[in-house]
């Protein structure tokens, strides 16, 4: 239980840090900053949840997976709110037009939708029925990778690292799937 509370607070702390930076400390381009910050949090947590299932045979931490997954959605949702409230300034026409028009935005929207679906169906009763669809998380990983690469003018070193981690996880997962098939 203690671990659970600590994990909850640890995962919440970036949001508090963000709020502190936006409200108290002067950030020159706050909206851009919120995008980068929440996007990075969400991607790192997305990687973490998938890693937990990859290493489950060595260390089983699956009981924390749901919380990390929910936080992934939480940061993705702030990311979206930033788009809707601060960037689009509630201009629904703009949101719809951009979402249909600009590839990186519709990829982000699809990912958010899948993450939202997973968050809603993560309660025990629903999870039993829908867990099979939670494999869409790998689709989300592919989509958000294209999403953040496509949103840049040129990739930074951090983003190259994300790309490497992404390739690593995907290769590892495919390898795991393959060995499962062979075992069967």
């Amino acid at each position: 239980m203690i671990i659970r509370i600590l994990l909850f607070l640890t995962l919440l702390s970036p949001a508090l840090f963000l709020a502190f930076n936006i409200i108290i400390v002067e950030v020159l381009e706050p909206v851009k900053y919120i995008y980068t910050f929440t996007g990075a949090c969400s991607i790192i947590l997305l990687f973490s949840t998938t890693l937990l299932s990859l290493i489950k045979n060595k260390i089983n931490l699956l009981k924390y997976r749901r919380m990390i997954g929910l936080y992934t959605f939480f940061y993705a949702f702030i990311h979206f709110l930033n788009f809707f409230v601060f960037d689009a300034q509630f201009d629904l026409n703009f949101v719809v037009k951009e979402s249909l028009d600009k590839p990186f935005i519709y990829l982000g929207m699809i990912s958010l939708f899948i993450l939202g679906f997973m968050a809603v169906t993560s309660f025990k009763s629903l999870y039993k029925k829908y867990y099979i669809y939670h494999r869409f998380i790998y689709l989300v990983m592919i989509l958000v990778t294209i999403h953040f690469v496509n949103a840049q003018k040129a990739l930074s070193i951090e983003q190259w690292v994300y790309l490497l981690i992404f390739i690593f996880i995907m290769a590892f997962k495919m390898n795991q799937q393959k060995s499962l098939l062979i075992k069967r």
Partner: protein, 316 residues
């Protein structure tokens, strides 16, 4: 750490000269009252540089609201250092802008080299308060100090067949860390930009050597850079080492990196989206909400006539 000041607006700040005068006056008596906390406070707030250039003031007839010196010098695209706009300031110390000579060659009567300090002596400097709009969607208002590029072109005496001006940033991996990364660099180096001759001769086109009355900070493109207020910021090439007069349209760096997204002209235009993001609005640094972007960044009257026969949707 900089703390946000909730009450202070730019227009509330004392004009720089008055502020400096007052500071000089206060400094006279400072020894006597060194413990006076109001002086300590005043010095701590001293975020504006001491002027070191002689120039004619811009009276700011459009009443543009200036960005602060701190904002202008803390948020910079300068890929020769890093792709992070916030980190450039810290890394920029490796650039050595003094002395600095510019090579002028190509289709001119006689190629030559000239030192930036000589240019500053030769041309009378003036302040130009311009809007500056980045292709990424942010903008600022900067009080540049410089001289019209047209003056330098007249000095260079280009030949009749010179149709374009090509600019190059310094290529020196000792001074620019990202140039050391070879194929892992963010963009190909040296950075290249270009202007059509009429654009280069336009009175708005400025060779800037300073801002807020002081010689340029490294991160802003010291010691000399181009400023073309009606074009996206990437056209305003920094730390210029070479200017060539050419017959063919130069292939500028961003066009070379991604032809579908960046063209030669890069005129600010809210009607023509970047393929990946909208250009209809912009966010002024320090402001939370966006404002509408204007055609040619609000300089249509001065520059629109150069593009009457150009399809602005095609020639991005």
């Amino acid at each position: 750490m900089k703390l946000r000041n909730f009450n202070l607006k730019d227009k509330d700040i004392t004009p720089e000269e008055l502020f400096n005068d007052r500071r000089k006056f206060l400094k006279l008596g400072a020894a006597a009252v060194v413990a006076n906390s109001s002086i300590v406070e005043l010095l701590a707030k001293d975020k504006y540089p001491t002027s070191n250039l002689q120039y004619k003031k811009d009276l700011n007839p459009l009443d543009l609201e200036l960005n602060t010196f701190d904002q202008i010098t803390s948020y910079n695209n300068f890929y020769e250092f890093t792709t992070s706009k916030e980190k450039v300031k810290k890394l920029a110390h490796t650039l050595k802008p003094n002395p600095w000579s510019i090579t002028i060659d190509g289709l001119v009567e006689k190629p030559f080299q000239v030192d930036v300090s000589d240019l500053i002596k030769q041309f009378s400097l003036e302040e130009r308060i311009y809007r500056f709009r980045c292709v990424e969607g942010w903008s600022m208002v900067v009080p540049w100090v410089g001289f019209e590029l047209a003056n330098l072109i007249k000095l260079a005496r280009p030949l009749g067949n010179a149709k374009y001006v090509r600019f190059e940033t310094l290529h020196d991996d000792e001074q620019f860390p990202d140039q050391k990364r070879g194929i892992f660099g963010a963009i190909p180096y040296p950075y290249v930009e270009g202007l059509r001759m009429d654009e280069a001769m336009n009175p708005l086109t400025l060779m800037s050597v300073g801002l807020y009355g002081k010689t340029l900070e490294n991160q802003n493109g010291a010691p000399i850079r181009l400023v073309i207020p009606w074009k996206y910021g990437f056209k305003s090439i920094k730390s210029i080492a070479k200017i060539s007069f050419v017959e063919e349209e130069p292939l500028n760096t961003w066009q070379r990196a991604n032809k579908k997204e960046y063209g030669f002209y890069a005129n600010v235009n809210p009607e023509v989206d970047h393929p990946r993001w909208s250009q209809a609005k912009e966010r002024v640094l320090g402001k939370f909400f966006k404002k509408k972007t204007k055609l040619f960044n609000g300089y249509e009257k001065e520059v629109g006539h150069m593009y009457t026969n150009l399809d602005l949707k095609k020639y991005i």
